[in-house]
């Protein structure tokens, strides 16, 4: 099984993640999409690491991303809670304060 198979999985996962972010109406799904994209990139790191000399760097990034994703999920959930307090909704289309 070559590199392209890993990358295909990764692309699929990434694409799904992106579609998830863009299309879902619930902010929690958006978070999930983000997790999927992060994981897609982790797969890439791991795959490239494996096929390129097998050093520690790629794996280090994977671990790093996992930790980061965890932290991010925590922060994001906190934001979501605040957004919910502010807008009484978790729909991203209604949280449009960024345009101001």
């Amino acid at each position: 099984m070559g590199l392209s198979a890993y990358l295909t999985v990764s692309i699929l996962l990434f694409t799904l993640g992106v579609i998830c972010i863009i299309s879902r109406r619930n902010v929690l799904y958006v978070l999930m999409g983000i997790e999927m994209i992060l994981n897609a990139s982790s797969i890439n790191f791991a795959a490239f690491n494996r096929f390129n000399g097998g050093g520690l760097e790629g794996r280090m990034f994977v671990i790093f991303i996992i930790i980061l994703a965890a932290a991010e999920a925590a922060v994001a959930l906190a934001i979501v809670l605040n957004v919910f307090h502010l807008f009484h909704s978790v729909k991203p289309s209604e949280a449009d304060l960024l345009r101001e």
Partner: protein
């Protein structure tokens, strides 16, 4: 350059110091008087008068020393610089350094000695007279201070050995004349306060015109003479070293005559021009036509001032200047001098016959007499001596006449109009006697001082005419005897109107009284000099007419006055050029001049126009007296009828030929008008230009402000507006929705990827 030092007499230092003390005594007196005079006893008048007494003694003493020198060799001139007594005026640290240096000393010669003694004597008696005349004046001490400083200036002028210092003292006299004429211009009790204020200004201004001419003439001699001289040295025509400029009289004489001789007796044109400028100084100071207008007005001053400044000394300084610069004067200049002098003499005499102010008559008489002197000097070498001699005798009798007039005015309580006087001879016998003596003297009655000089003047005019017929000598010959006739007439008119007949104004007559002793003593002494000052004939009973020479002609002789200068080869050679004998000799110009000179010397030695002149002057004297007697004493001819018969001519003369009015209308109005115009130009055009530049600047400023606001700022706003517009468009993409942003990002990513893939 020929050595002429043997021609100079050497005086011991103590004598130079004595001479230096002569001007310094009145100067010290002035300083004391101006600062402390008011607090001195009798306001300091005795201090200054005593000082002048000392000055008089010194001048007379030195006069006799000079006379002793000149009687031996027949020659006397001394310069203190030659005796190591002098100083450098402009640079002290490096005397005689190259370039700017003006060594200054005293000069004492026959003419100087005579003049110095005259000034000393007249000044003392004027001071003495003033102690009586000015009594009770509000500014008594200032009067004495000023007249003392004036005396200083006059004495300094006589002693100057260079023309620059002569000029300095000359102007200083002008200042003192200004202050003294204006003496009453600050006295509220004087009823002529306004006239005095105008008169002093007029006097200074008018003489200033002449003075400026003199300054310019001096500058010309200072620079053009060495230039010309050095040119001739280069051409080998003069065997001497090159020279620099000088103001020194003796050097000027010698160098000028060397230049003229090298030119073959012809004066270069610049020298004629410069000579005319110098003569301009005389015209101003000695009140010659057309600058005579100040002198009659100057009578606004106190009478002692008129006697001293405007009769005896200051106005004579112009004549003295001519005496000092005679070798510099070309024949052309001398012709002009003679013409101007002759014309002035007659012209002023005619006015003198119509004036009723007692001082006015004397003022015009002074102008006329100065015209005599000037005309005489213009007639050549004999006339030079005669003119200078007349300057001396005139100083005596005219100062006496003025002081006597002052005595009359004093006695009549400041009444000056002769029509209100009359019959005063009984009330004021001494004044009358003095005035009569001096009137005879000025008329040229034989045995009186004026006779000896006036006779010589007329002789010189006749001699000048026969030697060189030109406009100048012709004017002198014709005008002077006529003027002499009128002189006699108006002087006796004055005497008769004032002292004879019946009193015409009882108010004046009642108060008339003889003056106090200090005044009568002064006029008596001066009258004595007016009688004997020309020639002391009691000492020479065999030749009472002085045909063999008087004291003055013994001391001042045209052959020896200017050491190292042979006048017959310079001024007089030109004058003799028209003598047929000279032309007959033919040959070169130099030869011709030499021949002319020879002839001239011969001519002057053999010439004695005394007899002709004496007959003429006696004739005019008798005519004048006869006229006056007929009109004013015996009253056979009513003066009113005579003047009526003269008609318009009389009106013209009585109004002084309307010269004052003409000057007022042209020169003064013109100058003030020009000044007003230039002021307008300055305020409107020159300053206007500046203001226009300012206004343009201001306008540019406002324009810039508008431009800035509307164009520059507009551009900025435009940029801002555009940015805003773009922003509004960009805003459409900015929904604030994260999902949309992500979509854009992904789309962007896809586009980039597509770009990469496709290229």
């Amino acid at each position: 350059m020929p050595d002429t030092s043997h021609l100079f007499t050497s005086l011991p230092t103590w004598q130079w110091q004595l001479l230096l003390a002569v001007p310094l005594i009145p100067l010290v007196g002035y300083v004391i008087q101006i600062f402390w005079g008011k607090h001195l006893p009798r306001q300091g008048d005795w201090l200054l008068t005593a000082g002048m007494g000392v000055v008089m003694c010194i001048t007379v003493y030195m006069f006799f020393i000079a006379r002793g020198h000149s009687s031996g060799e027949g020659y006397f001139i001394a310069e203190s610089l030659r005796d190591g007594f002098g100083w450098d005026w402009l640079h002290r640290a490096r005397p005689q350094a190259e370039g700017l240096s003006l060594p200054t000393g005293l000069m004492y010669d026959g003419l100087g000695a005579a003049m110095l003694a005259v000034v000393g004597v007249v000044s003392f008696f004027v001071h003495l007279f003033s102690t009586g005349y000015m009594k009770g004046d509000r500014r008594y001490h200032i009067f004495f201070a000023n007249i003392s400083l004036f005396t200083f200036a006059m004495l300094g002028l006589v002693l100057s050995d260079n023309i620059l210092f002569l000029f300095i003292f000359w102007e200083l006299m002008g200042l003192m004349s200004y202050l003294l004429i204006g003496h009453f211009s600050q006295d509220p009790t004087s009823h002529r306060i306004r006239q005095a204020a105008a008169a002093c200004k007029k006097a200074f201004m008018t003489t200033r015109v002449g003075d400026t001419c003199l300054l310019f003439g001096m500058a010309m001699f200072y620079f053009l003479l060495p230039e010309h001289f050095n040119e001739l040295v280069e051409q080998g025509k003069i065997h001497a070293d090159k020279i620099g400029g000088t103001f020194n009289f003796t050097l000027l004489w010698q160098r000028a005559s060397m230049v003229v001789e090298a030119n073959g007796g012809a004066y270069p044109i610049w020298m004629t021009t410069a000579g005319l400028f110098i003569f301009g100084g005389t015209v101003g100071k000695s009140a010659q036509f057309p600058l005579h207008i100040w002198l009659p007005d100057a009578m606004e001053g106190p009478t002692p001032v008129s006697a001293m400044i405007h009769a005896a000394t200051m106005v004579a300084a112009g004549v003295f200047l001519l005496g000092r610069t005679f070798p510099l004067m070309s024949p052309t200049v001398l012709a002009v001098v003679a013409a101007v002098g002759g014309f002035t003499a007659l012209f002023a005499a005619t006015i003198g016959c119509t004036v009723f102010d007692i001082k006015g008559v004397l003022a015009y008489s002074t102008i006329s007499q100065l015209g005599f002197m000037v005309a005489s000097i213009g007639c050549g070498a004999l006339g030079l001596v005669a003119g200078l001699f007349h300057m001396v005798t005139h100083a005596f009798f005219k100062s006496c006449l003025f002081l006597s007039a002052g005595s009359v005015i004093h006695g009549c309580h400041h009444e000056q109009d002769m029509r209100k006087m009359g019959g005063l001879r009984k009330k004021m016998p001494i004044t009358f006697a003095c005035m009569l003596i001096c009137s005879l003297s000025i008329s040229g009655m034989p045995l009186f001082a004026g006779f000896y000089s006036k006779d010589r003047i007329i002789a010189a005019a006749f001699g000048g005419l026969s030697l060189n017929f030109n406009g100048g000598t012709f004017a002198a010959t014709v005008f002077l005897p006529l003027a002499a006739c009128l002189t006699t007439f108006y002087m006796f008119r004055l005497i008769f109107m004032t002292f004879f007949g019946e009193p015409r104004d009882h108010h004046v007559d009642e108060h008339a009284h003889e003056s106090p002793w200090n005044m009568t003593v002064a006029i008596s002494v001066l009258a004595t000099l007016g009688l004997f000052g020309g020639y002391f004939w009691l000492m020479h009973p065999t030749s009472p007419l002085g045909a063999h020479g008087t004291w003055f002609t013994e001391m001042v002789d045209w052959r020896t006055m200017y050491p190292g200068v042979d006048l017959t080869r310079t001024n007089l050679a030109g004058m003799a050029a028209s003598v047929p004998h000279a032309a007959a000799h033919g040959g070169s110009a130099l030869h011709e001049a030499g021949a002319a000179a020879e002839h001239l010397a011969h001519f002057y030695h053999g010439f004695n126009p005394h007899v002709t002149a004496m007959i003429a002057s006696l004739a005019v004297l008798l005519i004048g007296i006869a006229l006056a007697v007929q009109m004013y004493l015996r009253r056979k001819w009513n003066p009113a009828k005579v003047t009526g018969a003269l008609g318009e001519g009389y009106v013209w003369v009585a109004n002084k030929y309307y010269i004052d009015e003409a000057v007022q209308a042209t020169v003064i109005r013109g100058t003030i008008g020009l000044a007003a115009i230039q002021r307008w130009i300055d305020e409107n055009i020159v300053d206007g230009l500046v203001l226009t530049v300012g206004r343009i600047g201001k306008a540019l400023g406002f324009f810039s402000a508008w431009f800035d606001k509307h164009v520059v700022d507009g551009l900025v706003n435009l940029v801002g507006g555009l940015t805003q517009a773009f922003g509004s468009i960009a805003r459409l993409f900015q929904s604030g929705r994260i999902q949309q942003y992500v979509s854009f990002a992904v789309a962007g990513g896809i586009l980039v990827a597509a770009f990469h893939l496709l290229t």
